[in-house]
Amino acid sequence: MLEKAFIGQSRYQVWLACLLIPIAAGLACYFNQYAHGLGITGMSRDVIWGFYIAQFTFLVGVAASAVMVVLPFYSHDTREFGRVVILGEFLAVAAVVMCILHIFVDLGQPTRILNVLLHPAPQSVMFWDMIVLNGYLLLNLVIGWTTLDCERNGSKPPGWVKPLVYLSIPWAVSIHTVTAFLYSGLPGRHLWLTALLAPRFLATAFAAGPALLILLCLILKKTAGFDAGGGALRKLSITVTYAMIVNVFFIAVEFFTSYYCGVPSDRQDLQYLFFGFEGHARMVPWMWASLAMAVASIPVLLISIRRRTHLLLAVACGMVFLSTWMDKGLGLIAGGFAITPMDTVADYAPTLPEVLISVGIYAGGALLLTLLYRIVLSVREESNPV
């Protein structure tokens, strides 16, 4: 099946070539970082993690969201998802690969990464994160590839796929829960020290991931003539809507607890992010833009579901995706480190090379996703010739 990945119209080839440009730029910046150290980033002694780890966190959510198509399709026999379930699985594959790459570029000594296996430390959440992420990558790759191969041969998937599918459902929840535990188990980092962090991660994931999947389906419809089916998009957009409502509710709950209790340390980080703290207000417009889009996306989603217009749906999904990205892909990390252990305030902004390295990884993920989706479409075209 692999040979199908590179066959396509000239427009397709141009798209692949275009992706190579940011990948090359990212690689060049990474070699610079490798030679000179992480000092080329905006991170500091106070803001210990930055753009890379934030992207990792956000993308774990995108990966986990595959469960929102897998679960209804396999457990509740939701036939509408028949055509998109594999797109969700392969989106998870590309997202996990991007996660792993973001972790890799964040390491000070990347050549020692295998120390995590040579000297395993089960008391460390990072050890478990490595296991669940790699396991999830493998599960989705095996399930997706096998079911696609069977579809191509017109045969039923072998019996051993079903247990793997059912295993992948709790596994998806685990990857984002364990990722939240990286943060929520740390003493003295008040923004993260909340039991609500893992549930909130899941809510944003189940909003952002399916929103991206809807956008991808709409793009595939325009560019490759692939029709996911109106039913699938409708069901997905309902998932996005409810996940977003839960997310906004969680934000409100977080605000109530932090402010009503009156404990200064509990609200300082939120104050820094949304109102500014001791003259540091860099993140304020960013966070309000994110929150405003989160709230506004809900009525737009509801209207688009009612009117069944793809344009409005695309706008709503774009808002959901951008809003959650701004929140998790920067605010969460910058906010968590903003109030330092010395009770001083530390601002953070990524540098250009830092952003370019990350964009390179996103382009690499897009390339992988494009190739995987191309294979899916080729198989579908073969089995249902127009």
């Binding site: 000092g39 991170m43 972790i103 003493p187």
Partner: protein
Amino acid sequence: MKISRRTALKLSLLTGFSLTRKHSLFAIVASARPSDLLPPGAALKAGRWVMVIDLKKCVAAKDCHDACVHACHDTHNVPDMGNKKDEVKWIWREEGAHLFPDQLGEYRGAELAHQTVPALCNHCANPPCTRVCPTGATFKRGDGIVVMDPHRCIGCRFCMAACPYGSRSFNWKDPRPYLKKINPDYPTRTKGVVEKCTFCDERLAQGKLPACVTACPAEAMAFGDLKDEKSLVVKLLRENFSIRRKPELGTEPAVYYLV
């Protein structure tokens, strides 16, 4: 060179043994210092090492010129990076308000808020940093000292995120060009690894007290065994009121401040 079957077997056994050990054979050989060769008894040993800093004495010594900081940083090849972003420090002076938020009185003791006193790794009894390390590169010894193996560190900085005291530093750049003078008796570090105060484990092994304790002209820093009822530190803690940083976190710091 011909290796006999017997030698090959021995070598493979040795390699296998070294891989199963928590500290690889390479690490043992690489870390061998003259101190390891000293006769037994020469090294200072304790059930739990603690430090007691007398803030009155410390603040009163106005012309000490941060002797503790310089002694430590010169001994351990800690670079002066010249900016706050890339800063590496093992011990430094910090305002009381930053060290003890919520602990200083509004009236009596308020003056301490604006005076600077030493801050360093607390060598916690329940260290969050060692808990989160994914490779065991940082760990707590039997005598309570939290040490760092920079050769195993992968530079993920999880320990820095976990430390509620900001006691750990990361080498954002190669630190060597920023060393004015290199102490040949102590290793330098490379870029991409975390480092911190080690309660001078290398000096204790040679029978010496930590560099900062020895350097303090006001003798404001005491170092000793908390498990030894007759030690100076226990005496000081019995006779004076002491505080520790962020006691509410349950980390049980080994650095006590007499107020």
